[in-house]
Symmetry: C2
Subunit: 356 residues, 2 copies
């Protein structure tokens, strides 16, 4: 076995996530083969195709967000029970964010918690769903409404899977990387994104490896300080997500990817920071340009007729206090804070002409 | 507000459960009334009857084990969402073990965790489901197969609710109390049970209060040392449950209550300890007599024809290592240990003539 440890996150309760870097899919398979029995694999219809023959104990979910349901959860749990998986058994999620989320949620509740390995195969899953332990399903049309905190003991990365993604899927993850760059306590990732744009967009393996590592280092900083999002720190990782999720949930924007919505939402949050007088204008302008340089449709405005639906989705957001929706805003590099915004201001920011 | 703090458990992650003692149902209601909005109540058809008018946000489950399902979970979560409950909202479980389990599981996954108050109204729920944070539903005919660890922030006890239970329901909880007495590091509860039998069975309030408090002190000792049952300590609270659950799950024994099964199972575990040479015979004999003195059917043998089904349920137990079912056995007062037992010995213990 030739896997290298890229990183280890230490969470409370002695829980630790080891992030291991595989030298290609073969290396990955041989590592996973070592588990033997007492495992259940979770794929989606895309990642199942990567195998000539699937491992004997497996569940294959339909690819896509529509699989983040109670019914998928019950399928995985039922399969685990049918396989006779015990508490010391392991669920292996092999796929994108949906597969990782579903495998992790199932592992968190199967016999009140069994072992969990995640093999994220998309950039979004690598930098977002793989470490940190957030699991969730959508419920009654609301994204990530039901879930748990359950860190994987092991995350296995094979950078070459990133070279098979289409551009939209790649940009889905890259938006989270750029968001991490803005939230980082240092400028390393931000500068890397500025300097290595061509290498990243042409998916050179070394550039991608560094990109994923630097992005995970930022996430690690937040989740180690606040593993269950109760200390007012981890929530800053939601930068851009309140605006972004509302867009993603609104029916007219179904073809926008998660990343496109997060990029758009992050720029709205930057504008909101300026509007309420806490944001650094030069920094916000530079960050917006960075998103644009990677091809995100930042200037997009939602139609006036879509505002009511957009607002209704906003009002169901999880980040609420005393009934008011809270937004993560950015003052400058690495300095986020939480603010309630008046609905009129929000409406203005998503409908009116962009600032930059 | 006149509630007294009976006990506080300190779990990891700064999580704390306060156990408060109410001076009657009125006192309890006025305390709960202070929460105002942003709460969802969970009752069952029995406890809903205790109120002339139910609080506006409520879910009423059918009473009984058949409500420990995904469908009940989805009902509670759906109601919470319809009420607009945020992450700082609170779910209040008011009822027996099933209501407490379902309310706690729902609270543990609603937005990845909202606030939780439990008001256990049966002896079993008070000493078993109220502190310690184990939540679960039954799945594919297996008890407590899916769940989480999620301690309530607050447990409210009103001892007078114990006086309204029928005898079978009271004995359901008392079996867990006697089990706690055997597992305790001291003999206080054991002696109390020996000396105060008449006061307990006639449900004198002072005796019941002491009974619940001493029993919770034992549970506290185990859960504080091993909150998520990963350190090999908390699992000892399952004394009697491997035998007991198998009996409870076998179709012919549907009319046996949980407590009757646990009492029966604990005595089988005591016998198993003697059979493999680790158990103190005099202690096992005394403990068996204690169970009998409270009216439990300890001598019951399962029919030969029921063995296969009993065995199949055993083999699905969560406490497994390397494919072997593990049993909690007792050497003497407060000294438990985990052992794999050969199926032939198990068969002998549940079918053959009792030792004592």
């Amino acid at each position: 076995m030739t896997m290298k440890t890229m990183m280890t996150t230490q969470l409370e309760n002695g829980r630790e996530t080891q992030v291991l870097l595989a030298d290609g899919l073969k290396d990955l398979s041989s590592h996973l083969g070592e588990y033997g029995r007492n495992v259940l694999w979770v794929f989606d219809t895309n990642t199942a195709k990567l195998f000539k023959q699937l491992p004997p104990s497996n569940v294959v979910l339909e690819s896509g967000e529509s699989s983040k349901t109670f019914s998928s959860l019950e399928r995985i749990l039922g399969a685990a029970l049918d396989e006779g998986l015990a508490r010391d058994g392991r669920i292996i999620g092999f796929g994108g964010g949906v597969v990782c989320d579903m495998a992790a949620l199932a592992a968190s509740v199967y016999m009140r918690g069994c072992r969990l390995t995640l093999v994220p195969t998309t950039l979004l899953a690598m930098v977002d769903a793989s470490v940190g332990g957030k699991t969730a399903i959508d419920f009654k049309g609301m994204k990530n409404m039901v879930g748990s905190f359950y860190p994987a003991s092991e995350v296995l990365l094979s950078i070459d899977t990133l070279r098979t993604l289409n551009d939209k899927e790649f940009l889905n993850g890259l938006a989270e990387v750029i968001k991490h760059a803005l939230l980082s306590q240092n400028e390393e990732l931000y500068k890397f994104l500025l300097i290595k744009k061509n290498e990243i967009l042409s998916r050179q393996p070394e550039a991608l490896t560094t990109l994923v590592e630097l992005s995970l280092m930022v996430k690690k900083w937040f989740i180690e300080q606040d593993p269950t999002e109760t200390k007012g720190i981890r929530q800053f990782l939601n930068l851009g997500h309140t605006f972004g999720h509302a867009l993603e949930s609104s029916s007219h924007y179904g073809m926008w990817g998660h990343g496109a919505c997060v990029a758009w939402g992050t720029c709205r949050a930057l504008e909101a920071g300026i509007a309420i007088g806490i944001g650094d204008k030069a920094y916000a302008s530079g960050a917006t340009k960075l998103f644009k340089s990677y091809g995100y449709e930042i200037d997009y405005r939602i139609g006036r007729g879509d505002w009511i639906e957009f607002r209704d989705h906003l009002l169901k957001d999880k980040k609420k206090a005393d009934g008011k929706v809270l937004f993560v805003l950015l003052e400058k590099q690495g300095t986020a804070s939480l603010h309630p915004l008046e609905l009129q201001l929000v409406q203005h920011l998503v409908i009116a002409k962009p600032i930059f």
